[in-house]
Every structure is written in C-alpha cells, then in structure tokens.
Amino acid sequence: MKQKKLVLIVLVAIATTIGGFLLASDHIDAPAVKNQTTDITDLYVFNGADTNNLVFIGNTQGLLAPASTAAAAFDSNTLIQFNIDNNGDNVEDLVIQAVYSKGMMNFYGPVKPSLTGLRGVVEGTLTTSVAVTPYGSSPTISTSTNGVKVFAGPRDDPFFFDLNQYHAILAGKAAGFNNPGSDSFAGTNVMSVVAEVPKSLLNSTGKINVWLTTKKREL
C-alpha cells in the first residue's frame, strides 16, 4: 500500500517534470513535427524471409484513421533516410533514401553520402522507383537490378502499446497497467517505406547502427 502510494507520487512528479503528454514510440514526439509529413513513428530493422537480406522499415504520419488514410500522401519536400553506421562512431557511412515525386517513391542507395548530418542532398543515382500503393490495393513492389526490393504506401501501424493507460498512470489516475491491456494503436495506419537490401550491399562486418531521419526541402 505504502509502495503503491509512493509510485503514484513519483509518477505525478514525472508528469510535471517531463511535462506534457508522453506519446508512444516516436509518434508526434515533438512540437515541430506534430501532424507534419516529416513526423516519424517507428524504425524497424530485421532479417528478411531470405536471411541474406536485411529489411528496413520507416514509418511516418501515424495515427491515421481508416477514413483519412486514402487522403494521406507522401510529400515531395520530405526526404526519408535510413542512416547506417558501420564502424561504431554513430556517423552515417551509408544511406538509403526515399523521395516522393508524382505518384512514385524513388529510392537511392545504399550509398556513401557526400554530406553527413543535419543537412543532406539526394545521394548517388536512382536505385529503383515504385508506384506508391493506393489505399485498399495490394502492395506494388519493385526490385532493382542489384536486388533491393521496395514498397511505399499506407499500412497498419505495427506498433502496439497501451498508451492510454500509461497516460493514466503518469497522471496519477492509475497505479499500474491493466491485464489484459488495450492497444491504443489498434485500427490506425501509417505511411510506410520498406526496403529489403542484400546484406552484401551494406559493407558490414557484423554490427551496424541505424537511425531514421526525415529532412525537409529548403525552399
């Protein structure tokens, strides 16, 4: 009982210290990107069904209701980029980029970038393009001559978390999670970019560090 009370006090303190609502994964994580095409929700990196390949998934524009998914679109002014560090210094040695233009998602890389860090350019030559899959259609997939397989379009948000209960805990209205919990992301969609890449293209000795960035075109 005493401990329970302590936890509650602590959690109320968190809510005031950390401030605002804590939002799950990276969905609407910061004021500047909230409700923007640049807002990232999640990054996934895992072995493909063919374990000679690594799959990179970058999701953006989270919490799309089914009714608003058909109207959701990629933005030609947003550069979506997987950054890959091969030597542990957390500076990108390779990038995989996705840039939208006129119904197509154009993929570049994996390629060594001419610029690293906060300011970027489209790097190298086009790897492959794929038509963005419209809402309600089966996935359109494109594969480059060097074996990079790509997809772009709306998908179910694969992230799951009882965010509402977490909020209740932080607000001091609950002492813990419910069992079973309730997935606050159930029934919502994201705009997703998927690239499955032969590991032979990653110049890796076994371990990589990956981060996903969105960059906005300078106007």
Binding site: V10, G19, L22, S25, D26, D29, A30, A32, V33, Q36, T38, I40, D42, L43, V45, F46, N47, G48, A49, P66, T69, L79, N90, G117, L118, G120, V121, V122, G136, P139, I141, K149, F151, R155, D156, P158, F160, F161, D162, A175, G176, F177, N178, P180, G181, S182, D183, F185, G187, T188, I208, N209, V210, W211, L212, T213, T214, K215, R217, E218
Partner: protein
C-alpha cells in the same frame, strides 16, 4: 575618334568572348543546364523506440530531433539521467546489469543496433539490441529496463502494459507489415 573606334572593337570582342564563354558554360557537353543543388534539413529522427518520448524533457524534444547521434550524449545525458531517476527513484541496476549511468550511456546515442550476421531482435532473452522486428514487444522491454530492477521483477504493475502483439497479423513475406485498416 581613332581611340573611340579601338575602344569599340575591344568592347565588341570582349562581349563576343563573354557570350561564347557563357554559351559554352551553359551548354557543357550539350546536356541540360545544371540545376542548383537541392538541400534538405533534418526535422525528425529516431533510432530506438520511444527514447525521445520517455527520456527527453518537453523543452528539449525538438532539439533532440535535430541533433546528430554522435552529439547526443554530450547534450542530453544529464536530462536523460534525471528523467530515468524521476521515473524510478529507486533505480539501482536493471535486467541488463547496467547502472543508471551505464544505461543512459547506451540509450543517449539514439541509434538502433542491428546484427548483419545473426538473429535480429530488440531483446529476446538471448539477443540484446540486435535489431527490431515488427513483433518485438519493445515497450515491455523498456518498461522492464526502467522499472524492473536488477531481476526485472520490481514494480510488477509497471513492467508490462499487457499488450503483447499487434492488432493484425504480420505477413511472412515482403512488405511484412499488415494491410491498412
């Protein structure tokens, strides 16, 4: 008069030279004129799930998103440690055996570690931070590492949200994610 004429000739040939130069410059190799470089500026970034959300105070969330990972530890370690110890004031070590400083040392560079030679998993009891699959229950892992203490069993009401999987089955083949609702 004579001087003026000379001047005209000089000026004329100068204009001619300049226009030839301009012409050859804009028509290099007969291809299209070079377009100016288009630059893009960083707006958002994510490595591991929920790092900015959980560990960065409201005032720092935008700047965290526009900080390169190699600069994050220097700028955010103190804030992140404060957040951890606010979330769990009794933090000693966690299931990975990491002290608060060591744990923050791992998470303060927000990159997702991935193996290119083995099983990929955020945490499966054997593999630790070797990737992130769609079905990995990353929230339970992070809650356990923050609240669960050295054995992972402290604060049992806070170490799992009891949502253990997605609301739609994933696909066995590309593009792996489920179709939209």
């Amino acid at each position: 008069m004579k001087k003026n004429q000379i001047r005209k000739i000089i000026l004329g040939s100068l204009i001619l030279t300049m226009s030839i130069a301009a012409c050859s410059k804009s028509n290099n190799g007969g291809g299209p004129a070079p377009t100016p470089t288009v630059y893009y500026d960083q707006a958002d970034q994510v490595g591991r799930p929920a790092i900015n959300t959980v560990f960065i105070p409201a005032s720092g969330k935008d700047s965290f998103n526009t900080t390169i990972p190699s600069s994050m530890p220097g700028l955010f370690t103190n804030d992140m440690k404060t957040s951890l110890l606010t979330l769990n004031p009794k933090f000693t070590t966690n299931l990975l055996g990491l002290t608060a400083d060591q744990f923050i040392g791992v998470v303060s560079s927000d990159v997702l570690n991935a193996s290119t030679i083995g099983v990929t998993s955020f945490y499966n009891g054997t593999q630790v931070l070797t990737g992130r699959t769609l079905s990995d229950d990353v929230i339970d892992v992070e809650l356990t590492l923050v609240f669960g203490g050295p054995g992972g069993s402290d604060n049992p009401g806070l170490t799992s949200d009891h949502v253990n999987g997605n609301d739609k089955p994933f696909l066995a083949s590309f593009p792996y994610e489920a179709s939209p609702w």
